[in-house]
Structure formats: structure tokens, C-alpha cells
Symmetry: C2
Subunit: 330 residues, 2 copies
Amino acid sequence: MKKLVNDVNLVVDEELDGLTLLYPNILQRFPNSNVILRKESPVKGKVSLVSGGGSGHEPLHGGFVGKGMLDASIAGEVFTAPPPDQIYSAIRNVHGGRGVLLIINNYSGDLMNFKLAEEMASDDGIEIGRVVVNDDVAVESPENRRGVAGTIFALKIAGAAAERGDNLLDTQRIGERVVANTRSMGVALTSCTLPRVGKPMFALQEDEQELGIGVHGEPGIQRTRMMAANEVATVLYDRVSKDLVLRREEEVVLMVNGMGATPMMELLIFSRKVVKLLHENGTKIFRSFAGSFVTSLDMAGVSLTLLRVDDEMKELLLEPERTPSFPKLL
Amino acid sequence: MKKLVNDVNLVVDEELDGLTLLYPNILQRFPNSNVILRKESPVKGKVSLVSGGGSGHEPLHGGFVGKGMLDASIAGEVFTAPPPDQIYSAIRNVHGGRGVLLIINNYSGDLMNFKLAEEMASDDGIEIGRVVVNDDVAVESPENRRGVAGTIFALKIAGAAAERGDNLLDTQRIGERVVANTRSMGVALTSCTLPRVGKPMFALQEDEQELGIGVHGEPGIQRTRMMAANEVATVLYDRVSKDLVLRREEEVVLMVNGMGATPMMELLIFSRKVVKLLHENGTKIFRSFAGSFVTSLDMAGVSLTLLRVDDEMKELLLEPERTPSFPKLL
């Protein structure tokens, strides 16, 4: 295992330190915790947004804390849900009097721990809303679908709604509308390696790839021979657009997301084909971008996310934000 | 070799297509060439900025075309200088009547081809300035120093100067001042693999790393055992800050740059130590950020860049830009 780390038991602690040291003007770390807070927390008179999950998906979630997006993130250990007491602490420290919206990716551990924290916060009289993100179409049944890269659209759009002054229910509703209109699917060329384990989670031969991979190395739909980028793009696009029931003339935002070790050259080659497929389908592209936003440690691979947008979402997407990692929408 | 590509002979053509398809509002590709132009070219009454170099360093250079930075980039084949006729074509197509500044990384092939293009453009009566970037302190003699990640600071600051209306000489001068105050050094954990070759350029054992690596896999200063992130950070910081003759109370911008396959988790852990070293040294950090900006295909590794800033540079750094890949300075 070749990783630029110090102690494999301290990767989360040290990366959170690194993040807050790089961006001291906008972030702070809550003492003795893995909670990252927006610098000026709590922001009074605004619905607060809190999210989090296991580490290993950087820049998620800490990179999306800041004005216009998250008020707090909570990082669990690598691929492990964050503990309820830290989620509760985050909620208490960002609550500005208008309630707190939790944005949770659809994994049982995350759901359970956020639920426990929600109960503690409710006992304190804090009003809580929740949005569960489940954009991964590699899983058939929607209730079991994992939350993957599409989560950053929920953070952005609900975050912009909160920032403009929407109440808790309205902020939650637009978050839910984003989730209802977001679909993703990914492919792995290589496995990721957990720092504490030091060897790949699964074996992929030199001529193999895994379609429908999860961001924790969960098995995909199909292990296939290595395909050309255009073929991978077509397979992912077909499944994502079909599940989204994407019709001609509808308008989308396209995200091409690297899984951690994918060079920009490859993301661009993949993007080329996806944009061409959208053009062929008669779909309008409101904005599109490529980068690594929701990763799986050092996995090589890519995911494709489409968000179907309406006028309100478009307006909120273009609201300014001040976070380390949300892309410019140009 | 596991790469998400189609035809290894078409990677540059296809990635440039991908880039312009993703960002149609700000970029255009000049027909039958590897020239990327700012959408609204030529911008009249402004000094124009042109840069370029071999491909394989994405998002450099195309990701830095747009308002406030480059007017045009020219991509050569992978690790190969762009041809003079395309550089000349870029110059002609962006010239807005106030001259063109070429920003060139210090490699003999690039210098030669930009020189030839400059001569052709001068024959047309276009006034040309040039800035040569040579920030890599892994090379002892300054005249042989390679241009690496620090080049994006020259693009940004000279680009902002041009945008505010500086003349050619002033734009060149501030670009030169940026170069004089920028130093970088990198380390490789793995080799990169050229698409057409299909196997690593050099061999690094599981317990080895290469300090002072070049962005084309040029040999570094020293091949050592794998070091902890803190130790790597200290070695690179010492060399970079010493060469910059960085004194207490001076102010810098810090860039931690991934080499193509380095996950954000590792960049953050590395960043943590660098920021601590700057604090210990009494250096003020104006802005700092981590990401992958000047890469070496699929190399795992990191580079550290420090830019010593003065008041004018700080002001220009904070000017808005509209490019796909320049980071937010928060």
C-alpha cells in the first residue's frame, strides 16, 4: 500500500486538521470531535444544514461546509457512520433558531446514528427535518439505494434555499425534490485500499472492471472486461437516464465524478461521450462539470450523475457559495 | 494499463473535445487544432494571454482558459511541446490590439516552438511579451529549472493584470515578479504510464518514493524509502522555503498539488504538516488550498508550491476569474 499518510489510525483526525488549517477563514473544527463547523456558526435566523458520513469520500463532507451549503459536517472513521453524540453536538452548535435539516445518505448505519441524534436534539426542543439521498441506480429497489455523488446537489440546493431564508419545511421539500430528480451510477477500474487494512478490498484483474460499484467497494451489477470509455459512458448513461425517465427537451445538470485516483484526462474523455449522448437525446444541459467530489479512497473509476432541474433549482444552483470544494458552475 | 480511454492515439483530441463540451459557455475549440480559446475571443483592448505545453498535466492548460486568466491554450501531444503553427494560430486568434503575453514553462521544446511562433506573429506586427516559468527547485541551476505547478499563479496574476487593463510590459513584469517569488518541489509514489506505451515510465518499488520528481517523470534528486507524510512535507518545505529565502513575517500563498492519482485525504494530511511548518516559521498564509492542478497523468504523488505575495499580487489574486479549474481562494 502506497499512501501519503502518517499513522493509519489517525488519517481522519489529521485530514480534518489539514482541512481546517487550509481554510481558516471559513471553517473551524469543534474541539475533541470530528465535527467541522462553518466559521461563523451559529448563523442566527437561518435553517441550518448538517450532514456527514464515513470518511474516505473526500472532499465529502467537510469540503462542502461554508456559506450557502453545510453549516456542519461530521466525519466518521473510514467507511463508518459518525457517532450519534457528535452528530448531536453538531446540531446543537449550528442551530440558529429556525431548525436543522439533516441530509443523510441512505446507509443503515448513517440512518440509525442520525436518528439517535435527532431524538436527542428534539428533546432539547430543536426542530429537525431530514432528507435521505439515494441516487445510486445500480441498486434495483429505490428504498435500498445508496446515496452517492448526487448528494452534493442536495447540499447545494437546500443550502442555497436555507441561505435565502426558506423555512425548515420548504428547505426540506426542495432537498427532497432534488433527490427525486437525481440519479447516479459508477464503475471501478481498481479497488480501493483501506488504510488500516493495507491491501485492496477486492481483486480486479488487469482486464476487468466493475459496473455499478458502491463508494465503499460494495459489489456492482456486473464484472466485465475493460471497456472503452465511450462504451462505459453509454452503459452508465443508459441506465441513469432511463431510471430518471429523462425526456427530450428536459434540462439537466451533469456531474462526471472521479472516484479518487482518476486523472482529469480520463474524466474529460468520458465526459465527451456523455455530453454527446445528452445532445443526441435532445436533453438541454444547464451546467456540466467534471472533478473528484465524492470518492472512494484511492479507487480508480468514475461515476455519472444527472440532476433534472426546474427553474427554482436553477436559480438556487447559481447562488454563490463559499466552500472549499463545490465546483464553479460556468 | 487501466485507463478510461478509447483510442490511445486520440486521448488529446478527445479530452479537448470533452473540455469544450463541458464548458460551452466559456470555452471554444479552434477548428482542426488543439487550441482552446476563451469563448468571446478576441477581447478587444486587452493584453491577451497565451500558454500551453504537452498534454498529460490536466487540468493544465485548458482548465485555466477564461475571463481573468488565459485567452488561449495550446495542447501538445502527451508530454510533447505544441507545434509552432498552432501557437501562432492561437496568438492571431486572441490578439485584441494590445499585444500578446506568452507564458511558457521552461522546457527546451516549449521554448523553441513558442519562439518560432513569436517570430511569425512579430512579422505580422503583433507585439509579443514572454514570461518563462521555472519554479522547480529540485533542479539546482535556475536556468535549467522546469516549470511545474507554480505556473498557475503566473497565469492567474498576469491574467488579472491584463483584465484590469495593464499594458503588455506591465503584464509581463508582474508575471516575472510572480515567477521570481514562486518555488515548487514534488515527490512521486508511483510512476505515470503514457497511454501509447502502456507500462510505467520508471519502476518504483512498493517501499520506495522519488523526491524531486519532474512532471514528465524526469528523475528526481533522490530515491528513498517511503516516508511518512509529515517527513515528506518537511523535506519539501525545507527545500522550497530555503530556496525562496523565506523570512519570518513574510506572506505566502500555499498550493498543495496532487500529481493525478492522489486522493484528497492524502493531500489534506500532507497539507496539515506544511501549514504547521509555516506557522512555526512565523510565515503568514494569505490563502492556501489543495487539489490536483498540474498533474502527471496517473502518477500518485504531491507537490508543494509557495508564492511570496506583495500587496499588488494579493489584490490581483482575489480578482474574479471564470475558468473551469482555478481554485476558489477563500
